[in-house]
Subunit: 545 residues, 2 copies
């Protein structure tokens, strides 16, 4: 049997575009002699459709689109992810389904059993879990069709009481098919491959895996669809971060010899590629093509600018330098060197005149109180106003340049440098931003060396350094990682050898600044725990704060 895997970048709610992409792949599969073509989880709607699923109109459109696709699947069969109605009197209104379509109509619906409801996942919000298990019979073969998480209850996963494959295996399937929407993080590829391997080995079956590719606001999908033999060897892994299509002969997958394990890039290279895809798709799917950002002379805005240039083209990234009286000379020259290296459009717009006007306006009300955080923030907010004015005038999207370390401890100005339509580095710790800069510079030094080597500073008062109010980033980031990614408490972190006062101070800063993060742009998610939809914290609370 010949099985085609279609790894596609869908657009949530854009039924016309999703349908067209699916139909194109059906045609291609047919042309290449495939018996069946497999699409990802919730392919018809895009993933995650979130609360659109609460609209019957939306679900009806999903089902209408599925019917149109089915009508075109006359010779070649297809498996397509789609939300369907639960027609039973009890349970949630929908299923997360895989439709098996053939001979012009929907022949069978397989529903998802294990519904992830942690981190960024909310599937139990919408879907009723499946409790009936049936393989798909097709051309003399039996296909164990599973949906993403359905394969994730192998061995030691304590979350679920049920394992769909344990039921399906009783029907003696010939292969496992898994349609997925498995979001990227820089550790995910190995975890995913390991889970799939455990299934192939446990059930002694070849496995065909189709993932989403592309960005859906903050969620990045890396693709990496694959065919695996029953020995758990990856016969072929498909592209990362781009659409791909491949046809496999199921017999050949099993008989293939001298299989080379796929080679994967390191964490920083993955983050680099993922962020570029994230920017590209955010703009592309919203119908924009030009970015604006404030270039401060620091490493965060420099890296953001280069990533944007790689995503959108150098000519589409408008770099605005907004020096104040506290800006060092090198902040301007370093920035100019960067924009020159990539020949990017730029302007220098000093904020002095605006600052003076606002300062004078506020003076009678500030009651001779000394310069403090209010004046520091004022500078950042004037920059925000100027960038947004240019964004509004010309239709740029403002890119936010804050990193994860800053976002964590609230080292940033709300309505100032925390502005933007999209946060590029908000899930990248400062120490990782340095690594990204080095990675970007691996061939030719795009980012001026001085930007990488000088001590980081917000330059909002004379001689200010980040280390005036924060510990060294190497220490800060480690503590943050233990708290945010690993959910360790203060006692556990102190037990790792960190100073108690420092740990308490950092965790307090993280929790007290929940209110700031609540109002920040969506953050491209590259870690196992990003700020945003996957981390849900109360604002008004007093825990470690």
């Amino acid at each position: 049997m010949k099985i085609a895997l279609a790894q596609i970048n869908y657009h949530i709610g854009n039924f016309e575009s999703n349908k067209q992409k699916i139909l194109d792949s059906v045609k291609k599969a047919e042309k290449e002699g495939a018996d069946i073509v497999v699409f990802a989880e919730l392919a018809v709607s895009g993933y995650p459709p979130r609360d659109f699923l609460e609209f019957r109109d939306f679900v009806n459109q999903c089902n209408d689109t599925l019917q149109e696709i089915a009508a075109a699947c006359t010779e070649t069969a297809a498996i397509i992810g789609v939300p369907t109605y639960n027609t039973e009197p009890k349970g949630k209104p929908l299923y997360n389904s895989a439709a098996f379509v053939y001979k012009g109509k929907v022949q069978q619906l397989i529903h998802k059993t294990l519904l992830p409801n942690y981190d960024i996942f909310d599937e139990y919000r919408y879907f009723e879990p499946n409790i009936k298990f049936e393989t798909v019979s097709f051309k003399g073969k039996k296909l164990a069709v599973t949906i993403c998480e359905d394969l994730w209850n192998v061995q030691d996963n304590p979350l679920y009481r049920i394992n769909p494959m344990d039921h399906l295996i009783k029907q003696n399937p010939d292969m496992i098919i898994n349609i997925a929407a498995s979001p990227f993080n820089y550790k995910q590829a190995e975890i995913r491959e390991d889970v799939l391997r455990k299934n192939a080995l446990k059930y002694r079956l070849p496995l065909f895996y189709v993932n989403h590719v592309g960005a859906q606001t903050e969620l990045l999908f890396d693709g990496g669809s694959l065919a695996m033999n029953s020995k758990g060897e990856v016969v072929r892994e498909m592209a990362w971060f781009e659409e791909d299509f491949a046809v496999f002969d199921t017999g050949e997958v099993e008989s293939a010899a001298n299989i080379q394990a796929p080679q994967h890039p390191g964490a920083i290279a993955r983050i680099h590629d993922a962020l570029i895809m994230g920017i590209k798709n955010y703009f592309g799917k919203l119908g924009f093509n030009k970015a604006i950002l404030g270039l401060s002379g620091g490493i965060d805005s420099a890296v953001t600018s280069v990533l944007a240039a790689k995503a959108l083209g150098n000519e589409n990234v408008y770099n605005v330098l907004l020096p104040s009286q506290y800006s060092s000379e090198h902040s301007v020259t370093d920035s100019l060197n960067l924009v020159k290296n990539l020949n990017m459009p730029h302007d220098i717009i000093p904020i002095k005149k605006s600052y003076d006007a606002l300062d004078e306006t506020l003076k009678p009300y500030f009651k001779n109180l000394p310069f403090n955080i209010a004046e520091e923030n004022l500078q950042a907010r004037i920059r925000g106003v100027i960038l947004m004015a240019l964004s509004n005038k010309f239709g740029y999207i403002l890119l936010n340049t804050s990193n994860k370390s800053e976002a964590a401890v609230g080292y940033g100005t709300l309505y100032g440098d925390m502005n933007g339509g999209l946060s590029v580095l908000g899930d990248v710790y400062k120490t990782q931003v340095y690594q990204l800069a080095r990675y970007i510079n691996r061939e030719n030094g795009i980012i001026p060396e001085n930007i990488i080597t000088k001590p980081p500073s917000a330059e909002l008062r004379p001689g200010q350094k980040d280390t005036d109010s924060l510990p060294e980033y190497a220490i800060l980031d480690t503590i943050l990682y233990e708290y945010i990614e690993n959910r360790k408490g203060p006692k556990e972190i102190v037990a790792m050898g960190y100073d108690k006062k420092l740990v308490d101070r950092i965790l307090k800063m993280v929790n007290l600044n929940e209110y700031k993060r609540y109002q920040t742009p969506p953050i491209l998610r590259v870690s196992t725990k990003a700020f945003g939809m996957g981390r849900r914290m109360p604002i008004v609370a007093r825990y470690l704060s």
Copy 2:
């Protein structure tokens, strides 16, 4: 048996304060001769603790606190909501539990069965559902202890396949006890009472219900704890919007005659009281006492200012008038009349100087393009900058004054008038804001009549009116309500008699402005569907947009 109900305003993660309040009520119950005192769902942690539950340190502190409380419950028993560990090898790591404590220790744990996972609820994210049913035996009585949603699968609720009371009733309990965390919306009291009544009647048992009271960021809890007899009559309903404590003799609850049904205020009065509590608790629990807001002369900021004054005291609401060249004269005089009526602190800070400076700074880059949305937003953002500068300088929290109609269609400036720590009216449609104003003015006309009667305008360009770009609010709000609260699609709304073009335009505006709402402050929730944690939409999508 004498049973005390303790309706308390908890503080999430503030174990010391929660413990103290619980212990005070235990003492009071003991003093009043109660056999048992009942506290709300997750009383120890506060509700909702959200992802704090993913920290073992947090759950450990909950359990340590419970042990301390139990130690004090020697004579009087107590039922207390607390998260506990699931010690089984499979399933989610926690239970949402009711601890029955007596004789100085935890005697029994009852776990929640029905875990709400819709709208603002995420309980399936953390908790394993209970599958074992056991009543609590105490002093010769059997108590059917249930946790909030456990009573909500009566009659036609299709969400769940199981009904805990159907199991518990087999053990012949003497009464139902329900500990809840049931958030307010202006329709909830009747729904809640109806659900409780259905249970009392179906199982022919008296029912004791303890709810939370107070605000937890955006979620408002109205209290309304009650005792109901087995005929479904409310023997006594406890206070709304404040802490309360009552002791009931279970026999007297059943024998009481001539019971008067509780009288409830109307929707607008409820919203009024709920918002005041929301502001008060937001400030109080964060340790702030002073608010700042921009008073535009329009009805939204006027109503916000009055509600804040009622919550915080007139002297703690700093009203800033920020007129521009496009501000009408009445916008200033109306505002001044309002602040005079309540003797609130205020200042007039014209934005012209700041606007001119920024306009001049931007001119060379605006390339002689005509005045448009960029300049309109510039004014709103300068106001935002001034308000935030004063907020930073003096420790005010800025109140956001946007209403739900504006938030829905994106009629507001990001980083401008959409700023604030808390949105007071973001879940109140414009037509309801007018009703609130009339309600506020019911005794003495605090809000100047002209603010209520003049046509609404953003005053960002000469002669601007809201109706230049929006339909009449009466029509807009009805369409929005059908779309947002009722999740009707365009076809269904058009079928109700609305113009197709108008409906399409409005729904498109709602969906296109998801990116703005993503970055707005938490919104006090008073409806069945508020923007924020209970409405989760993709930003990058193309559905109805």
